[in-house]
Symmetry: C2
Subunit: 341 residues, 2 copies
């Protein structure tokens, strides 16, 4: 129990989700390196590592600094631009843990030269964010090697899996792109020991032996996006935002969990700003900073009652809070909250 | 300077914005009670109070607890549902500062009875979030008075001013609704000493003498929503997110300021996920947690260079960070960050 709104974590569901992803990766003969940006929690990281994760993925040096307390093999899966202060931090980090850093340009690689890190070349497999085209990976890898840096392999994020239209095909795109990239590295005489991909929506799809590592994040908790994409049902949602009904204005349910608790993420295909497991037909039709407005096609929950809301995107919801309130009454800190750099 | 991404605050623009809103309120013979949820900063609150604000507006008890350090007249402009723990906190708060609390139901008012607070009845003036219909305000006010609570008056948030189609008319709706509500209270023999409204987009429109208090929040900083609504130009934007260009993938600018730095807010009428003052034709076409993807119809800024991005909604962007980095190199804490309850 806490004062609403707060993050409520069902630890039994969390443990089942962690085990399920470990089993999925093992069955597919893939190493598992969960993305810790989702949970930002040392306790959850320890559970992932205890069930077979080979290491952790993080997004920033700041997150790596936090997770080096519990993990000795970190992948900053991001095309870092490293200034002098960052270089100092990476040197200190490398004394605590093995460090792999993403890269998609020779200019960025030059800033990494002489640092005690390995490099993975980022590939664009269809999400069209960062990353080089797959066929260009070998040339970049060779140039990075000439800087004296060790290239461990290639990675991509098939982020276009976050769409009902391309969820099923994103894994195919990912495998095809990584196969081209791997061959490109081989042609440049840089062996790709690491071939890393994965996202929660695409994790369950086959990649026909191309990848050797998966980096899912959201699967540890689940969220409304995953429910609406069809990846999971509400029974696999471990993290909710506990909210109090504060008004029935307009015949709707107004709770005190707004965008500062749920996050404002809303994909074009989302049906609202979150979901309500106890009333699956309910829709969060509007979100202010401290209000969610819910159309609730059933008897309204009483003023003052608590409801559990599922955020659309759990990574950004978690980053708004300092504490998880566990289903057994304990708490865990969101240790890496706000570690954006 | 800081490590990107970080909140960059131009204090000269901030001071001009504070003075301009004070002047606007004074010219309209309105008391000014700025909403501190926008900035969550004691330093900024002091500046607002020093230039004539009669008090501060906050959204939660937690924010009130922070701002009671610098202000002795706080309005929690929210329909609180007060449980036993909240009641304890409100009693402690009332020993430090005058406390006014919003209310839109008799059930919620009963939870406030016997607490040392005054009550303002919330009215729906067209935003259709919380609040009673204006003509019902008197009946609710009379019933609240019978509980032994003192009703100070009525308030509304004309949130439909956040739309190009209704920005200009929202102030008319607000004034009409508050006039009806004021008359409704008078008919119920409850004088409305407070008639409070206001939002940043509607602040500059006339209300023909109905209101006596304005509660704008965003005006202190400005943001991309205000620019796109036509409330301000980029010259009045005091708060930006400093970001580093990390990739040119796809011929676009990818920076390290994503939704965990800018916030994910995007109104249906927004042109993207933020704006770029140095390139007004640029559009932030996609946002991940740690990437913004910017279509930049000019020579791209070099890899590693810094760009200043204007978040769509500054209130949620500020709530993601712990520190303001001032244009003169100092820092201020975001003291009330995460105070959601």
């Amino acid at each position: 129990m806490g004062t609403t709104p707060y993050l409520r974590l069902d630890v039994a569901v969390l443990d089942r989700n962690i085990a399920a992803m470990a089993d999925l990766a093992a069955a597919a003969h893939l190493s598992l390196r969960p993305h810790a940006k989702t949970h930002k929690s040392l306790e959850i990281a320890r559970r992932q590592l205890a069930t077979g994760a080979v290491g952790l993925t993080v997004a920033t040096i700041g997150e790596a600094e936090v997770f080096a307390d519990v993990c000795d093999d970190l992948f900053i899966a991001y095309p870092l631009w490293v200034d002098a202060a960052d270089a100092h931090r990476l040197r200190a980090l490398a004394e605590r843990t093995r460090v792999l850093v993403g890269c998609d340009s020779f200019d960025a690689a030059r800033k990494l030269a002489r640092l005690p890190v390995e490099v993975a070349v980022e590939i664009d497999s269809g999400h069209h964010r960062s990353g080089v085209q797959p066929a260009q990976a070998g040339e970049l890898a060779a140039r990075i090697t000439e800087l004296g840096l060790r290239v461990r392999g290639v990675f991509t994020f098939p982020g276009h899996s976050y769409s009902p239209a391309t969820r099923a095909t994103a894994a195919d795109d990912e495998a095809a792109a990584l196969a081209v990239a791997t061959n490109s590295l081989a042609a440049a005489l840089v062996p790709a020991r690491l071939v890393s991909g994965g996202s929660t929506p695409s994790a369950g799809f086959s990649r026909a032996g191309v990848l050797n590592e998966l980096r899912p994040g959201v699967s540890v908790f689940g969220d409304a996006q995953q429910v609406e994409l069809g990846t999971i049902g509400f029974d696999k949602v471990a993290l909710t935002v506990a909210a109090t009904v504060v008004s029935h204005a307009g015949g709707r349910v107004i709770t005190n969990a707004g965008s500062k608790a749920l996050g404002a993420d809303r994909a074009p295909w989302a049906t609202g700003y979150g979901r309500v497991p106890e009333c699956p037909d309910a829709r969060v039709v509007a979100l202010s900073e401290h209000h969610s407005t819910i159309e609730w096609p059933a008897a309204l929950p009483a003023l003052g009652s608590q409801v559990l809301l599922v955020p659309n995107h759990v990574c950004t919801a978690v980053n708004l809070a300092d504490t998880y309130v566990l289903s057994d009454g304990g708490t865990w800190p969101v240790a890496a909250r706000g570690r954006n750099s």
